[in-house]
Amino acid sequence: MVTAIAIARMSDLFAVVMLSGIYSLLSASLFLDLDAVDVAFTEASVGAGISTLLFLATLKLVPRYEKKSRYKPTLALGVVIATGALLIYGTLDMPHFGEADAPVHQHVAPRYLNDSMNEVGIPNVVTSVLASYRGYDTLGETLVVFTAGIGVLSLLMVSRRTKEKALQKVPADMQNQIILRVVAKMMLPLILIFALYVQFHGDYGPGGGFQAGVIFAAGIILYTMLFGLSLTQKVIKTEVVERLTAFGVLLYAGVGIACMLLGGNFLDYNVLRHDPVHGQHLGILLVELGVGITVAAVMVTLFFKFTWRTVKHKYNQ
């Protein structure tokens, strides 16, 4: 909370961004405390990781300091206070924190906890709700990621010509950091393997396609930071990554369609195999993979696009 207030007061954007990263990490640990392991995992990788990274990439392109505002934010304060009042008013009748007999724990959720083992067959209830009971939400979520990818792609387009010229010109900033490079080279396979582990182990422990995708992307981003865009581009073609963003969504929705063709409802994995539980397994595996692919691809694309922009600016100067 202190962090949050600090953010509100600071005008150095770099510090603000760093602080918000810290804020995210703190949040993640709080989530952990509240038994939300999956959420904590995600918040840590996204809020503290990717989002900070993106902010920094942007900061590279725009001025670092905020101008002092000339206006007194009275109106804003009023609106905020009104909102706060409504919220506090709303909390008055809330079930108390941690109470086990609150309505949320009485309806709907018990079924997930009690029957998911029989119906879906995997221990991580979060995963089974995410990928099966509310699988359609997750498809939507993947689509949101894809949409953001499309948005950034179309906004931060760089022409091929600029790219080619820039490629020759711009070496990585950290060309000389040999130790770092060696360490990173060693780390990279580990990161990628960890990502795969998170991907496929989501059934049993915290993790899943989304977190895996982010970690995978982080690996590639790390590599890019150290070895420069040109080298990364040789390994991973932008066009391929862009298509992969689409492929993940297609995979996910394709599973749904397959279920339909096999006589079930959309995303009804039971029909994928003879045994419903096996069907669920297969379905979840595939859709998580879809999520992972899209997320990783989009994150990498985002990073590339922001970096290209930087490159373009340098080149133009």
């Binding site: 409504l86 919220l87 008013y89 709303g90 909390t91 008055l92 009748d93 809330m94 079930p95 609150a102 309505p103 949320v104 724990h105 009485q106 309806h107 709907v108 959720a109 079924r111 997930y112 099966s132 009971y133 509310r134 699988g135 359609y136 939400d137 498809l139 939507g140 979520e141 689509l143 949101v144 894809f146 949409t147 953001a148 499309i150 948005g151 792609l153 179309s154 906004l155 387009m157 022409s159 862009e242 298509r243 963003t245 689409a246 492929f247 969504v249 297609l250 929705a253 394709g254 749904g256 369609i257 339909m260 079930g264 409802n265 959309f266 995303l267 009804d268 994995y269 039971n270």
Partner: protein, 491 residues
């Protein structure tokens, strides 16, 4: 296969969007998008027919029963809007083929269509779903893709407009999830119909009231109800014309749908009555919105901005119908949803055709275009007449119902105000008419030609629809009535 129609409706554009990235050739992507949207349209036609004759359809996603899994539920209300959204989208896409070639660089076309289809998916998903959280997810899909659609153009002001929309839209969406969260907290469920069953038990709770408050504010941000409309005029004015046509005709309408759904199907009108003077608030905001935005429209120099303000005003009418809180009022609202979509789509497409030819949406550049582009201009005028509410157009039908509903409620001063406000519409529409027909052209513009057929045809389909539904109101009035009855019947 027909059993899967409720989901196919949404899933087809959903699948098509990523496929666009594989096709990559703009022309083909364009045609592909039309096909997809047309398929959605045909599905929605058959859905509406089924719903009107057979009753509500329910579809369980993933095969999980309702409160545990996500449910799609098509009734008369959303069946009607699904038809509207997919229909308008198809027509707009036809015009898009040529229109965007002038307004967007070639390499963004594929992205444009992808974002367009995503937006369509989002809107259809919002309409079809019966799950409060799923609604939020699709709301975000449509929102993110509309930010893209707005910012994708070449005007730099589109960027700020899109950013502004992004901030306000996200605040709105966050308010909505706060509302959903609080409701979930009190009931333990996310399914709308399950909520409707469980909420009466906790009507007295302050939490539910505050949930409702957050919800209303969030949705009103999305639907640009005055004074939360600030994002709209710029977004509509500087976005590519096709985007404007599509969003103006559909996205605020869908937000209104969400509002109606929450008020009538989830919270129930009794709750609304006893908790908040919502009718009065809507009445006040609706009326102020109508007047302020209409007057603002008069002073605009950019024709897209002009009609964007007019959209804000029209939303005022729609909300006014809700404020009446009677079946007749709701009918008027639903009618106007449909009718306004028709007019605005026609107007903005026609403006798009002009931008295609002269590359500008400045009113002053329209001087003397009446001679050069008679058909396009006639379409703008026809749309304008419909906005005013001239008989034989859809605008008249909506206004008639609104006034009847107001008189029925006994609010005759409001009825008078509504009629006065349509006179303000006369003023801003007539400013356009005078520029078009009565001002000699500034520059000698021999090379300006009538818009291409590929744009004129969709424009005129919409104009004719404006007139057709202004005379034969069986479909629109019929379905609106049925939907209004069912919403009041439930409670």
């Amino acid at each position: 296969m027909t059993a899967h129609f409720p989901i196919l409706q949404v899933i087809i554009p959903l699948l098509a969007a990523p496929l666009c990235l594989f096709i990559r050739i703009p022309r083909i992507v364009g045609i592909f998008a039309i096909l997809v949207s047309a398929t959605a349209f045909f599905i929605s036609c058959s859905l509406l027919q089924e719903v009107v004759t057979g009753g509500t359809l329910s579809y369980q996603l993933g095969g999980w029963a309702a409160p545990w899994g996500i449910e799609y539920r098509i009734d008369k209300l959303n069946g009607y809007l699904l038809l509207l959204v997919s229909g308008i989208s198809t027509i707009v896409l036809v015009a898009a083929q040529t229109s965007i070639s002038k307004e967007l660089p070639e390499n963004r076309h594929t992205f444009f269509y992808t974002a367009y289809l995503l937006c369509l998916t989002g809107l259809l998903g919002i309409l079809a779903t019966a799950d409060a959280f799923n609604l939020f997810v699709f709301l975000e899909i449509s929102a993110l893709s509309s930010y893209t659609l707005i910012a994708i153009g070449t005007d730099r002001r589109a960027l700020t407009a899109s950013y502004q929309y992004l901030v306000m839209g996200t605040i709105g969406a966050t308010f909505i999830i706060i509302g959903v969260g609080l409701m979930y907290m009190m009931t333990g469920t996310l399914n709308m119909y399950d909520l409707a069953e469980r909420l009466p038990a906790v009507y007295e709770s302050k939490t539910v009231l505050s949930a409702f408050g957050f919800f209303i504010v969030g949705v009103c941000l999305k639907l640009a109800l005055f004074p939360l409309h600030l994002w709209l005029p710029n977004a509509y004015a500087y976005a590519p014309s096709i985007t404007t046509a599509f969003l103006a005709a559909t996205s605020t309408k869908v937000a209104v749908y969400v509002l109606i759904r929450y008020i009538f199907s989830i919270f129930g009108i009794e709750f609304v009555d006893m908790s908040l003077p919502l009718g009065d608030i809507f009445l006040f905001l609706g009326l102020t919105g109508i007047f302020v935005a209409s007057v603002a429209a008069i002073y605009q120099l950019n024709i897209k901005r002009l009609f964007a303000y007019s959209s804000v005003a029209q939303i005022g009418y729609i909300i006014l119908g809700l404020a009446i809180e009677t079946e007749l009022g709701l009918t008027a609202t639903l009618l106007h949803l449909f009718n306004h979509a028709l007019m605005k789509a026609a107007i903005f497409l026609a403006i798009g055709a002009v931008v295609y030819r002269i590359g500008s949406a400045q009113l002053s550049h329209y001087a003397g275009l009446g001679k050069k582009m008679p058909w396009t201009m006639a379409a703008i005028v026809a749309g304008g007449l419909s906005l005013i509410g001239v008989p034989l157009t859809v605008g008249f039908v909506s206004k008639w119902y609104l006034v009847v509903a107001l008189l029925d409620k006994g609010w005759w001063p409001v009825a008078v105000l509504v009629l006065i406000s349509s006179l303000i519409a006369v003023i801003y529409v007539w400013r356009v008419v005078e520029w078009i027909y009565l001002t000699p052209p500034r520059i000698i513009t021999d090379e300006i030609k009538e818009a291409p057929m590929s744009q004129l045809i969709p424009i005129w389909i919409l104009v004719l629809a404006n007139i057709y539904f202004g005379v034969d109101t069986r479909l629109t009035v019929g379905v609106s009535k049925l939907a209004a009855q069912s919403l009041f019947g439930v409670n």
